[in-house]
Amino acid sequence: MRFILRRLGFYLAALAVAVTINFFLPRLLPGDPAAVILGTQASKLTAENLKAVREALGLSDAPLIQQYVTYLNHLFQGNFGLSYTYFPAPVTKVIANGFIWTLLLGSVSLILSFVLGNLIGIIGSWRRGGVIDSVLPPLLIFIGSFPAFFLALGMLYTFGVKLDVLPISHAYNNRLPQGFNLPFILSIIEHMILPATTSVLLGIGGWALGMRNVMVSVLADDYVTMAEAKGLKQARVMFRYAARNALLPGVTGFGIALGAVLSGQILIETVFSYPGLGFLLINSVNGRDYPLMQGLFMMITVGILAANFFIDILYTWLDPRVRAG
């Protein structure tokens, strides 16, 4: 319990720092941030335009500390302002929409790469020197060396343009009635195949290598030899005895991997125009939609922190030693 409370305290502190970064970044710009932000259109700007932007950013002539309090107040009320590009939708609504898609794509690809990668690692370490152990790791490292967006472009070109078998953009078929019906769900799955496969291909190598390295040392432990000597079934020794313990470092890695997965996913979403948070983030930057951009950064950070906290809780459940410490 104390462990969990301590972690919670850390994540709250991290959140406070992220909020502060979000608050100060626009104010670090030289000159009037609103004017800089509106930049190219400065000549056409009226005083009113400027005022509107300043208000959206919470900029005023009040002392900095007072602005900060106002900003925090707005945050707690869930008031991120209105999006420029999706005007007049409030930022929160745009983000809520994108969040569903990011969560869907992210969890599907993360679970797939975690399960497949660990399986490859387990089986590879069990049959060291076998095909899975000698061919797959270097191949997966090589695939993992591709920039996420480049692999995504390759998939898009091969399966979307050349072979023309899979949709290349968006998350579902617009022409179908939305809701809980089979054609619509099938179209969601169809649209997810390319981005999810890209993400899995990128992530799977790391899991496989990590698992393999831990398995190699766990397999050398006496209790595994003992289990084998007792004549237990191979699969039982492999999964219930060895892999179960070798999985622990991987679970910790999960939290750190989330950040990398998310970075990759931002690029993948952009390439496939998949309407998640990453796609929105890049669009908001290109469209100079500062309220949306700030809200997205906040939301992504909260999401990552929450996921990390969840992993901490999971970890205490998996490893009793943490609970004691």
């Binding site: 991290a14 060396s145 472009l153 343009v161 397999l219």
Partner: protein, 328 residues
């Protein structure tokens, strides 16, 4: 006084020679690097691109940003790698791109390694409040998502090479910092550190002159990982149009290709060179790290030795400890 000086001097110089110089451990790291065939291959790959960047003006003479002919021409004798949607020479872009891409990668990695080393070693050496604060900062940077912060930074800051190097360093140093901290904590318990502490040497000297040379392998490994991170992230940012589009990097090349819809018209040659370059360099760097790990990690070395013995004795690999028969 004089006598004392004389007495101390030879002792000092004898003690300082092996510990004060980074040369020996660096040479050691280089030795391990070239001792593994994987690392050698990786090293050659990276060097080819470094040389291409350095000698770009003689390999691909001419301005890579110039309009040279009809857009989207496939590779031909005139344009080895064809032209991109803006009618620029892809080969020139590809060669010149390695210069700035690698500069950003190595530059940001150097900065990341310096920050990570200073913060990580301080945190690992001092206990109590210093460690608590520094460790908190490291965990914080680890948990705040990197690419979104990078995107945010590049939206607010003026795009340019220096900006991107600093932005990458700020978002990417913490991972190595944590590893260095852990290593420092374990080295701190070693006798030679205790001896230095007892003889009253200043803390900074102990950290950077006694402890640092003992973790060169980790620093080099971390540096190489940081180069991969730097090249990958900067290419991604540039592809998204968040870097200065006036610069020629592999990322901006890909941005221009995407911007002109090269894929949709099937002009794959506008994409392939720069994208493959990033992948091959990253793979080469990963090979170096992989090879170094194989040599410096005793567990992997032992495993390799066992494997080769088993192969010679023609014993299939199994779980239980094998008994190798003596050949008489």
């Amino acid at each position: 006084m004089n006598e004392n000086d004389k007495k101390e001097q030879p002792e000092k110089s004898a003690e300082s020679k092996p510990r004060f110089s980074l040369k020996a451990p660096l040479a050691g790291a280089l030795g391990t690097l070239l001792g593994s065939s994987k690392a050698r291959v990786g090293f050659v790959i990276v060097m080819i691109f470094v040389l291409a960047g350095v000698f770009a003006s003689s390999i691909a003479p001419g301005d890579p940003k110039k309009y040279v002919g009809k857009p989207n021409q496939p590779p031909s004798a005139q344009f080895i790698l064809g032209t991109n949607p803006q009618g620029k020479d892809v080969f020139r872009q590809f060669v010149w791109g390695s210069r700035l891409s690698l500069l950003i990668g190595f530059g940001s990695a150097a900065l990341m390694t310096i920050i990570a080393t200073v913060v990580g070693m301080m945190a690992g050496f001092y206990r109590g409040i210093v460690d608590d604060v520094l460790n908190f900062i490291m965990n914080l940077f680890l948990v705040i998502p990197g690419l979104p912060l990078l995107v945010l930074l590049s939206a607010y800051l003026k795009p340019g090479t220096t900006t991107i190097i600093f932005a990458l360093a700020i978002t990417g140093w913490a991972f190595n910092g944590r590893i260095i901290r852990a290593q420092t904590m374990s080295l701190r318990e070693k006798d030679f550190v205790a001896a230095a502490v007892v003889s009253g040497e200043p803390a900074l000297k102990i950290i950077f002159i006694h402890i640092l040379p003992n973790m060169v392998n980790i620093l080099v490994g971390g540096f190489i990982g940081a180069v991969i991170y730097g090249i990958m992230s900067s290419t991604g940012l540039a592809f998204l149009g968040l870097a200065s589009t006036a610069d020629v990097t592999w990322g901006t090349n890909l941005f221009w290709a995407q911007n002109g819809g090269a894929l949709m018209i099937g002009a794959w040659w506008a994409f392939m060179p720069s994208g493959m370059a990033v992948a091959i360099v990253a793979f080469g760097l990963a090979l170096i790290n992989y090879g170094m790990d194989e040599i410096t990690n005793p567990r992997l070395t032992a495993e390799r030795n066992v494997n080769s013995v088993l192969k010679k004795a023609r014993i299939p690999r199994m779980r239980a400890t094998p008994v190798v028969p003596h050949e008489h």
